[in-house]
Symmetry: C2
Subunit: 192 residues, 2 copies
DNA sequence: GGCATACTAGAATATTGATTCTAGAACCTG
DNA sequence: CAGGTTCTAGAATCAATATTCTAGTATGCC
């Protein structure tokens, strides 16, 4: 087995840099030249441009989920949810390449358009998170309803993500965590 | 002068439908066939695909701004800002095509990449809003600082937009306005 | 009516960039 | 070391689609 000069992760890294630099319309040739590789080496690892991009998205989302679940791993459900909200901001600040890569697709659309080889991973990527949020909703509220689960999703995920999103391509303001927590707390309070 | 069978607005409409249906990668041929027009008629109105898409974005953002400014046109600054926040949701619910078209670009990037013929419009499109928010920040807070302006922008624009964004492609939940107001109110309160 | 203009029509062309192919080098196994 | 496998290399091919071109048609104006 020859030594691998261009690994899948290395290629994904270059791809991420390209996405940050030039937006979603990444060219294979650009990734290759950024890496000093021939285009053939990229196709040796990934079946198509589509697949490469989806793999990048999956890797970034997966990395985020590690931090996200860790942040929410504490007893008090309110604290856990607010920590998760803050984690969205912290991750975005500390992992810009991944954060930007995550903007490449929306999950709900990707489920329909991902290449066959990634379909299953795309379909499953959110289940752990979804379950965890459901559990936290149960613990945070008595007589948990659909509305409570909705509020939890907004407070712990959609609101914080919406708040950092505009800053992903530059730098995240230092006071954003504070804002995110205030917003999420207020949203959770609507369920009381 | 021959009667215009395919007007610029009609073409933009078809383009918007295409964006909603198939995401940002719109093909000229698809717009044309949706319209029952030859591709030539599209190029008769727009210099390039790029320009067409940017014009669509500009039209949608402009339409939104009309509603947005109207919503904020009231004396009490807190009320005005919260009304603007709600307006983001209402507009997204009532004008799905425009709301989705607005996701085609980020302003800060478009400023750099827009075709020459649109550059100026892109550069200017936000100035009215920017000024208005600055004025409202002055009125809402005593001794207004940069931080206050930051909070105002988050409360009236970025937070509500971030909260509806995930729902743009389907339907906007009925309880979202309530959530948006709670969030924005909490954010504004951070400046007191 | 006859000319000029604005538009429709859609085929022909050009371009861009993804993908494939062939060759060769590096390494591992037995 | 011979054979097999994995990988690099980069040129050649292919496909998709944006754009251009030429012709034809309707309309308004003088």
């Amino acid at each position: 087995m020859a030594l691998a000069k261009f690994t899948p992760d290395g290629i994904l890294d270059a791809c991420a840099e390209e996405v940050l630099a030039n937006g979603g319309d990444v060219r294979i040739a650009d990734i290759a030249s950024r890496l000093g590789a021939p285009t053939g080496s990229i196709y040796h690892r990934f079946g198509s441009r589509q697949e490469l991009l989806v793999r990048l998205w999956l890797r970034s989302v997966g990395r985020f989920h590690v931090d996200y679940l860790a942040a929410g791993d504490q007893d008090d459900p309110e604290r856990a949810l607010l920590a998760m909200a803050e984690c969205v901001v912290a991750f975005s600040r500390d992992h810009q390449l991944d954060a930007v890569a995550m903007t490449l697709y929306r999950h709900s659309r990707l489920v329909l358009t991902a290449p066959e080889s990634c379909r299953e991973d795309v379909e499953n990527i959110n289940v752990g998170i979804h379950d965890r949020l459901a559990v936290l909703a149960e613990r945070r509220y008595e007589h948990t309803t659909e509305r409570h689960r909705f509020l939890v999703r907004l407070a712990a995920a959609e609101s914080p993500y919406g708040l950092v999103r505009p800053y992903l391509w530059n730098s995240v303001p230092a006071s954003l965590p504070e804002v995110v927590v205030a917003s999420s707390r207020a949203i959770l309070a609507l369920g009381d």
